[in-house]
């Protein structure tokens, strides 16, 4: 009754569908961290992007408006982080945590404040349509993989495009090079005339904006149903911070990281179905405690961390000045 190939395809398809917000969060955080700032407020930033993007998208019945507003709303969180840590030199860790608390608070405040006026996604046909799967010509005809990678919604393709674009920007443009210099050694960058303040502000805002797009994705993936018992983002923001390390601060590697983390994330839901479809090969999945699936990505992250520290600095993408505030007079 249950075709094993079908179950496998569904499982792989959902790994991509469910976990793409991780990619947005990770790529956004990479942009922020490449500017030398450690923003622990990803969770809150995504929540703010999600709720305002969704509400605006519904009101205007437009994907573009939704994307734009989620980018801007989350960008404002980034601006707040920048004001506090760059201009006022506040501790980055504490500020990041504050942004998370603030963002989640704002999410619930706005959501519960809407009450009965909360818009159902079915009202906004453009959002429903925008989130419908699009089959790419030819590619989607490949067995299994065609469905998994090339029959997704537009925001999945956009996420991958953003990741590749950011990778190109960081590695192959002059401003990208300067940005990396700011993250590695702001004093040196400053001495050759890079405007540290401007670079930090722009990239903290842009990075946070990208996180916000991930939040908007989560909103659509939840069909915009707000119940207010827990936040849509649901810890994805925290996983994204771990993914940055896993991906070694490389946006293209983040795509792979998203799939790896997503694999375990979704395995939790699909373990029973997989065990049922492949009783011989995967029957043991039912005996694995779900807590292990939740822990595995972080165990892998720990291993990656150890591996990269054993290799010393060589090949590590971590900006040298990450988490340190830059104070010009102390240069």
């Amino acid at each position: 009754m249950n075709d094993p190939i079908n179950v496998l395809t569904l499982f792989l398809f959902n790994i991509v569908l469910i976990n793409i917000p991780l990619l947005y969060g990770t790529v956004g955080e990479i942009v922020v961290e490449k500017a030398g700032s450690l923003d622990l407020g990803v969770e809150g930033t995504m929540a703010v992007g999600a709720i305002f993007g969704y509400l605006a998208g519904c009101a205007a019945n437009s994907m573009v408006v939704g994307l734009l507003v989620s980018f801007l709303a989350a960008g404002l969180c980034g601006a707040l982080f920048a004001v506090l840590t760059v201009s006022f030199q506040a501790n980055q860790n504490v500020t990041g945590l504050t942004i998370t608390t603030f963002g989640l608070g704002l999410y619930f405040f706005v959501g519960k404040g809407m009450g009965e006026r909360w818009p159902a996604m079915t009202v906004a046909s453009a959002l429903v349509d925008g989130f419908t799967a699009r089959e790419l010509p030819l590619l989607s005809k490949i067995p299994v993989l065609g469905k998994v990678f090339f029959s997704q919604n537009l925001l999945v393709y956009l996420g991958v495009a953003v990741a590749v674009l950011v990778w190109w920007y960081l590695n192959f443009t002059k401003t990208g090079l300067r940005l990396r210099a700011v993250g590695e050694n702001p004093g040196a960058a400053d001495s050759v005339g890079v405007n540290i303040l401007l670079y930090k502000y722009v990239h903290l805002i842009a990075g946070s904006g990208i996180m916000g797009l991930g939040g908007f994705y989560m909103a659509l993936n939840m069909s915009g149903s707000f119940e207010g018992s827990n936040c849509w983002i649901n810890g994805y923001g925290w996983i994204a911070i771990a993914l940055v390390i896993f991906a070694n601060w490389n946006p293209v590697m983040a795509i792979l990281g998203t799939l790896v983390f997503g694999f375990f994330n979704t395995l939790q839901i699909y373990s029973g179905a997989l065990a049922g479809a492949f009783p011989g090969g995967l029957g043991w999945l039912n005996a694995v405690p779900a807590q292990l699936f939740k822990a595995l990505p972080f165990i892998i992250t720990a291993i990656v961390l150890i591996a990269s520290s054993v290799r010393k600095k060589e090949g590590s993408g971590q900006p040298a000045a990450l988490g340190l505030n830059y104070f010009r007079e102390e240069r």
Partner: protein, 426 residues
């Protein structure tokens, strides 16, 4: 200069964080000065004075989330307590509450209980399972105050009891609705999004009762359980429900988890569902059929009345309650199935459910027994046929031999740890 500024900002932020955390209680929980006996032990130190005026009686509660919630577990309990207070002539505005008390932190629970007691509460309700140790300790410490703990198993013989209900009876009724719907759809696959399964008697008894109810209406159904390993997580609940529909083509989705997401997913996919805790027809009018629900006010009214009858002698509470564990079901009106949504239900659903409800209320039959039910409906008249049959778990072990009595004590004492035949881990 820079360091001072950074320090000042960091300090301001951590202070604001602390302020948020502390503000939840609406009271200063750390204030040990509030421990003076003035208001705390009023009923105890002055045992001879009976509480003659009803309005003198103070009710307190410790909540896992907020009394301002508009849905969910705390909402249901808060609603129950305030409804009971109104019925007993108490002013709900006098209810003493500490909100947002995490149930994995004994110290926080103890502090919350101190806060409630120090404001003069005569009875303290703790609604979450994890409050169990703190409730037990505080019941010994404040022997002049009554403690009542929901979903727990600890108690003493004087001022501390626990309470829960035979929600499995309501789930059996919901199962009937699901089984009839499956029959109407011609699709024997039913999905069940569960917080946990055999780890807790509460969850697996619910799954089993639901499956048995569904099988009574349609012997061919299979119940696929997708467990999410948390009591509430909107995202996971949605994903699990979607996976059940995608992989098993389930036409009906039931649930034991906090949010209405499984019902919403069912509706979005043109499927149907049975909710839990509240009548989810409100959220999913085109998908939801009926939900297993609690009428917490039934217990709270009984308990507050019993506490008021103690006339200040808290040690008589357990005696007044007729025991230290309250475990009522359909008969007492403590649990029930929510009104059937005629728009989604299969024909005769309500009639069959009503007939079985009557049978359970009469006490002649209970869910986990060696007697199976089946139904024939003619012109709206329901005839229940009882057949002796083994109650078998899904590994083939006989739990109750044909004709044997119900093993509901497996639920009450928490020892049930199996799934009945027809339940599949999905």
């Amino acid at each position: 200069m820079k360091k001072i500024l950074a320090l000042a900002l960091a300090a301001a932020m951590s202070l604001s964080l602390a302020a948020c955390g502390g503000g939840n209680g609406g009271n200063n929980p750390g204030g040990s000065s509030a421990n003076n006996p003035g208001s705390a032990s009023q009923p105890g130190t002055d045992v001879s004075t009976p509480v003659d005026s009803k309005s003198d009686f103070k009710v307190g509660a410790v909540y896992i989330t907020s009394q301002n919630d508009t849905a969910g577990y705390t909402f249901q309990h808060h609603n129950g307590i305030t409804t009971a207070m109104k019925a007993l002539g108490l002013d709900p505005a006098d209810l003493i509450v500490v909100d947002n008390v995490p149930d994995n932190d004994d110290t926080a629970v103890a502090t919350a209980i101190d806060t409630v007691v120090n404001q003069g509460a005569d009875i303290v309700f703790g609604i979450s399972f994890g409050y169990i140790n703190a409730m037990n300790d505080k019941a010994a410490e404040y022997s002049d105050v009554i403690f009542s703990h929901g979903t727990g198993y600890m108690a003493n013989d004087t001022n501390f009891n626990n309470y829960f209900g035979r929600i499995y009876q309501a789930r059996y009724l919901a199962g009937i609705a699901a089984g009839l719907k499956a029959k109407e759809l011609g699709n024997n696959n039913i999905g069940y999004v569960a917080a946990y399964n055999t780890e807790y008697a509460e969850t697996c008894s619910g799954i089993n009762a639901f499956a048995l109810g569904a099988q009574s209406a349609n012997p061919d159904v299979k119940v696929y359980v997708n467990k999410i390993n948390t009591w509430g997580d909107e995202t996971l609940e949605r994903q699990a429900a979607q996976a059940l529909i995608d992989t098993y083509n389930c036409g009906v989705i039931s649930q034991h988890c906090d949010s209405a997401q499984p019902q919403l997913v069912a509706q979005e996919n043109g499927a149907f569902g049975c909710g839990y805790n509240s009548d989810m027809t409100e959220q999913a009018p085109n998908g939801h059929i009926t939900a297993a629900i609690w009428h917490w006010n039934v217990y709270y009214q009984t308990a507050i009345q019993a506490a008021m009858d103690c006339n200040g002698d808290a040690s008589k509470f357990v005696e007044n309650m007729g025991g230290n564990a309250y475990y009522a079901g359909l008969a007492e009106g403590f649990v029930d199935a929510s009104p059937v949504n005629e728009k989604t239900a299969a024909p005769d659903t309500k009639a069959v459910m009503d007939a079985v409800r009557e049978l359970i209320v009469s006490g002649d039959w209970d869910v986990f027994s060696g007697v199976k039910l089946s139904y024939t409906v003619t012109d709206g008249k329901v005839e229940i046929t009882k057949t002796n049959a083994d109650l078998v778990d899904n590994a083939g072990n006989v739990i109750v031999a044909a004709g044997g009595p119900s093993v509901d004590d497996g639920v009450i004492k928490g020892s049930m740890n199996y799934n009945v035949a027809g339940v599949v881990e999905g």
